[in-house]
């Protein structure tokens, strides 16, 4: 006879209140730890960097890795490890600021046009499509080239260039929520558009916003690195990864380390961000909308 007691056992309800990050896939958890390590290195840079990043001739030029210079020195005898450590500050700050800017402005814009619809939606979407149809690297070079290269300007430019992409995704997520009766109920109460967007819609599209922020972080880091390499980012002697790669590439036959170290730092950072994004998307993405609180 079969044992039926298993049918009577009440299975404990999966704890819905469990901290959402605990449900991330392993790859994303590892990526998250890597990102935390990056953040720690960036914050503690003055404490852990063995030399001041911009001080020349702390060693002779093109020294190979040694106990004194773990990643060797560059053409001006600066310590590559110290410069790489300091470079993480620039890139994380600029990448995070750009992503935050695009997610907040694009999010608000997307929610408004998704909620209001009609002619406003038509006009706004066509304008965003026009911006998106221009290659962003050309757009960025135009702005930064004409206004002068500086870290805040680059971050703002890269952030603004991502606004249309975020707005488009958030608009779509908003539209599916905006037709629901609780929005109609809010309208019937006489809530203002701003209050409907912030109080009723925003909590229902946070998943999408988190994913978009994450995607935009990875994209911005690469973009900013690229601009730095082209000389349109931070200016010498700043320890900036893109700039370091550019400075080191002419003397790559003398020493590969001044190029390899920042390039590897960039590659690992972007990989980690992308893996983390992937996991976050599985938790908060469109298919899971409403699943997380």
């Amino acid at each position: 006879m079969t044992d039926l007691s298993v049918l009577l056992e009440s299975r404990p309800r999966p704890a819905g209140r469990r901290f959402a990050l605990q449900r991330l896939p392993v790859s994303a958890k590892v990526a998250g730890l890597v990102l935390l390590a990056y953040a720690a290195v960036a914050m503690l840079a003055p404490a852990i960097a063995p030399y001041p990043p911009n001080e020349i001739f702390v060693g002779s030029p093109f020294e190979p890795p040694s106990a004194a210079f773990l990643l060797g020195t560059d053409s001006l005898g600066r310590d590559v490890l110290s410069r790489t450590i300091y470079g993480s500050r620039t890139i994380l700050l600029m990448g995070g600021a750009a992503a935050g800017l695009s997610a907040s402005i694009g999010g608000l814009l997307g929610m408004f046009i998704g909620y209001r619809g009609g002619v406003l939606d038509e006009v706004a979407m066509r304008m965003l499509e026009i911006i998106m149809s221009i290659p962003s690297i050309i757009f960025a070079l135009l702005i930064v080239g004409s206004l002068g290269a500086s870290a805040p300007l680059v971050a703002v430019t890269v952030g603004l260039l991502s606004v249309p992409n975020v707005a488009r995704v958030v608009r779509a997520a908003t539209q599916s929520v905006a037709s629901e009766d609780f929005i109609t109920a809010a309208r019937a109460r006489g809530e203002t558009s701003l209050s409907i967007v912030l109080r009723e819609l925003l909590p229902n599209v946070t998943g999408t916003l988190i994913v978009e922020f994450s995607i935009r972080t990875g994209y911005s880091i690469l973009f900013i690195g690229g601009l730095g390499f082209l000389g349109f980012g931070a200016q010498p002697p700043t320890a900036d990864w893109g700039l370091m790669v550019n400075e080191g590439r002419g003397t790559i036959d003398a020493s590969i380390w001044p190029v390899a170290a920042p390039a590897a730092g960039m590659a690992m950072l972007v990989t980690a961000v992308n893996l983390f994004t992937d996991g976050v998307n599985r938790l908060f993405g469109p298919a899971e909308q409403g699943g997380v609180r």
Binding site: E180, D181, F182, A185, R187, A188, R189, G190, P203, R293
Partner: protein
């Protein structure tokens, strides 16, 4: 015409005169409007203080459109709508806060009408803050008493809508509407999504609230048993046209409008055999409605050829407060549709028992 439909005993608060609504949008560039048949066509009725008017009809008959128009969520194409001294033709965005407070709407599906990211306490507190300026701390007590009023435990304030049952959620939606201290409640199929026992609880709850507060209700439903038990008066709607208006006990007794009679027959009653196929014309809508004559003509078993399809039927007062819009005389309707009374009486008896 309106005066005739109006119940004499109760002072009407809500006046709907010759309301028409259309679902159409002018083309973005040409501004040309495509001619669609109106969803609501020349509808007039009134609801008095403390009265419940049931609006019945099949899906697509314009019931919800009327409720949304009254709430200011849908524009009226034509007609005069008044509530007390307020003009209801204004969209909700341009209405005075006082008017928005007085008229509250409850939707069919509480899963969609409650924001799932908000706790129940904050859902109910929102109208308190909006209409009475209560801070979150001040509204706590009020939220608790509203939860009690809809017979929910007060600790539900801390829960999310996903953590309670569908019937309980609808009670939260009612509590939110009551929080505004309305005098007119628009109930748009509010029990259709619930099982029968939850329906009964909700209806009894509304009834007791109504006796305490003299709340008026526009109760939209397609469930005739609910109408019979719950409403004071009934308005029968067919494809945006009113067919019959009157007190519940009169509308549910002969003479019937041919459509009302068909609706009553369509109610399945346990133990009653289906009538012969040729007899029961399907109320299902197949073609677009006629532009002239009676909207129901093509479905009507008692159609007078040459008249019903070409001329608008007149309103006939068959009893005090009871009017039928039909080309047939009351005596003829009584004779022809009286046969349906057998089925209807069974149905009414069943409704009263339950």
């Amino acid at each position: 015409m309106t005066a005739m439909i109006r119940s004499t005993a109760i002072v009407p608060q809500l006046h709907i005169d010759n309301l028409s609504c259309r679902y159409e949008r002018p083309h973005l560039f040409s501004g040309r409007r495509n001619k669609t048949p109106p969803a609501v066509d020349d509808v007039s009725f009134a609801v008095g203080a403390g009265e419940t008017l049931a609006l019945v009809g099949e899906s697509g008959s314009g019931k919800s459109t009327i409720a949304r128009t009254i709430a200011g969520l849908f524009p009226a194409a034509a007609g005069r709508l008044r509530y007390g001294g307020h003009d209801l033709t204004l969209p909700v965005e341009r209405r005075a806060a006082e008017l928005r407070r007085l008229i509250q709407i409850i939707f069919q599906n509480p899963d969609a009408s409650l924001n799932r990211r908000h706790r129940i306490g904050s859902i109910i507190a929102r109208p308190l803050r909006l209409f009475f300026g209560l801070s979150d701390a001040d509204s706590r007590q009020e939220v608790a008493s509203l939860l009690e009023a809809v017979r929910l435990p007060t600790d539900y304030a801390e829960r999310f809508p996903s953590e309670i049952s569908g019937g309980e959620r609808q009670r939260v939606a009612i509590a939110r509407a009551l929080a505004a201290r309305p005098s007119l409640l628009l109930c748009d199929e509010i029990v259709s999504a619930l099982d029968v026992s939850a329906q009964a609880t909700i209806l009894e709850l509304l009834r007791s609230i109504q006796t305490q507060t003299r709340l008026s209700m526009l109760f939209i439903t397609h469930d005739l048993a609910v109408v019979r038990w719950f409403a004071d008066r009934v308005a029968v709607l067919y494809r945006g046209h009113l067919c019959e208006v009157g007190p519940v006990e009169r509308v549910f007794a002969p003479p019937y409008h041919p459509y009302t009679s068909l609706l009553l027959e369509a109610v399945p009653v346990f133990g009653r055999r289906r009538e012969a196929a040729g007899d029961a014309a399907s109320p299902a809508v197949t073609s677009s409605p006629p532009t002239t004559g009676c909207a129901f003509a093509s479905q009507c078993r008692h159609r007078i050829d040459g008249l019903c399809r070409s001329a608008e039927p007149p309103w006939r007062q068959v009893a005090p407060g009871h009017a039928i819009r039909c080309h047939l005389e009351a005596s003829d309707l009584n004779r022809i549709t009286g046969r349906a009374a057998t089925g209807a009486r069974l149905q009414v008896a069943a409704a009263q028992k339950s």
